[in-house]
Amino acid sequence: MKNAVKNQIVVPHRSARRFYGHGIPGVDLEQLAGKLIVVEGADGSGRSTQIKLLVEWMEGTGHATVQVGLKRSTLVSEELVQAQQGNILSRTTLSLFYATDFADQLENIILPALKAGFVVLADRYIYTLMARDMVRGMDEAWLKNLYGVALEPDVVFYLNVLPEELVQRSFAKNASLDYWESGMDLGLSRDMFDSFMKYQTAMQATFRRLQASYGFTIVDGMRPGDVVNTELRKKISAVMAGK
């Protein structure tokens, strides 16, 4: 019997929960026993790789997990993809469409999973949505009210990677730059490379601004994946233990 607890499973510490604003009507925050962990960062910052590694680690240590991400709702994801391809929606409309997608996942996946005691890993959350809109000149107070429906996560990691490196990673992977990730709709430059650099620099500045109100943990994403993952695990372990 002496080896019985060698592979010890940590029972997560209960966290104090709150919505950022008005929240979702009728939700009892006391019942949300699980943990919400968010990984933010630009495309190519290593988000999905990190999440994959975290899921493996979590499951290995006895935690049930659920993953969510942008544009994955049953309600509007198809229409959202369609709208984006045509680039026919105006700013406020696109913003509200994304908010609908987010709220649908929040109510139908995130909250039920947390209630059931799962660890929810979110591949981006409201911050990317807010930053994109802020870079496009939308009112910050309006966005804060809109995303007041969101639940405050237990921890938010922002994988910080310099635009110069993001460009290299994007070329290594796809040999091209993404239209939206280059902010081409903004008309910053006709040169896509130029536009990408300007847009990503503006996004980083906006994230730093958001960090002041939302308190992300900024993680240096320029380092090798396993080094980054070790840091994330360490920080998540502390969160699980309620430290």
């Binding site: 009728g26 309600l75 229409e79 929606l89 105006s90 406020t92 409309t93 509200l96 469409f97 709220a103």
Partner: protein, 247 residues
């Protein structure tokens, strides 16, 4: 919040609000015909009609996927699409824009569904206020009768079934509409509704609507400009023949 006139738009927006069955759609249709027959620049827009968002909304309704929050957001998306792509550009171009339901419909319904009023109002804060808002005030029983007379198949969200007010769709609809009416009445003064008695005859109401519109808007300003004449376009095209100007 300001009206389009206060924001110096050349166009003007007229909205109608009221319960289902209050006859508001009939009234705005007749108003539209009257304005069109005077050769004025008129555009009509209906609640929940943006092509792009419609697919998602009807899926959400059919499969009963919507919660009060997503119900509110998806309708706001629909409104924003129409607002940014049609209403604002047309109002910039000096049109009379007629809206069958405007933001007050969202305020009334979403709040009845339990969304915080400040949140809903904040979301719609990008929209300017109508220059004229007609509220067709009907007795709850009269509206209900009009809708329920044919014992129609009431849709899930239309009847407010998502609120679990009653397991009977008709009873649920009654309670739901009653609560929306309360919301409308509470907004009436704040948003300067022009309240019309919707229990009167169609013609009586329409006469009043037209009178109020003529009184408050300088309709002559919205007349279509005379189009420059293009005599050549009327004649059939022939390759070889050069058109002689008509003497």
């Amino acid at each position: 919040m300001k009206t389009f006139a206060e924001l110096n738009f050349p166009g003007r927006l007229i909205a109608v609000e009221g319960l289902d069955g209050s006859g508001k759609s009939t009234q705005i249709y007749l108003l539209k015909r009257w304005l069109e027959l005077q050769d004025l620049k008129v555009y009509f827009s209906e609640w929940n009609s943006s092509e792009l968002v419609k697919a998602a909304t009807s899926k959400g309704k059919k499969r009963e996927l919507l919660t009060p929050t997503t119900f509110s957001l998806i309708h706001a998306t629909d409104f924003a699409d129409r607002y940014e792509r049609h209403l604002v550009p047309l109002l910039r171009a000096g049109y009379l824009v007629l809206c069958d339901r405007y933001i007050f419909t969202a305020f009334g319904r979403d709040v009845t569904r339990g969304c915080p009023p400040e949140w809903v109002r904040g979301i719609y804060s990008f929209a300017a206020l109508p220059d004229l808002t007609f509220f067709f005030k009907s007795d709850l029983e009269v509206s209900l009768k009009r809708i329920l007379e044919g014992r129609p198949q009431l849709k899930y969200f239309e009847a407010g079934m998502d609120l679990r007010l009653s397991t009977d769709p008709y009873e649920s609809f009654r309670i739901f509409q009653g609560r929306i009416l309360e919301q409308y009445l509470a907004m009436s003064t704040e948003f300067n509704f022009l309240v019309l008695d919707a229990n009167q005859l169609v013609e009586k109401q329409q006469a009043l609507v037209r009178e109020l519109v003529a009184q408050r808007l300088d309709l002559a300003r919205f007349r279509r400009a005379e189009r420059p004449r293009t005599p050549a376009s009327a004649a059939p095209r022939k390759k070889t023949k050069v058109e002689e100007p008509v003497p």
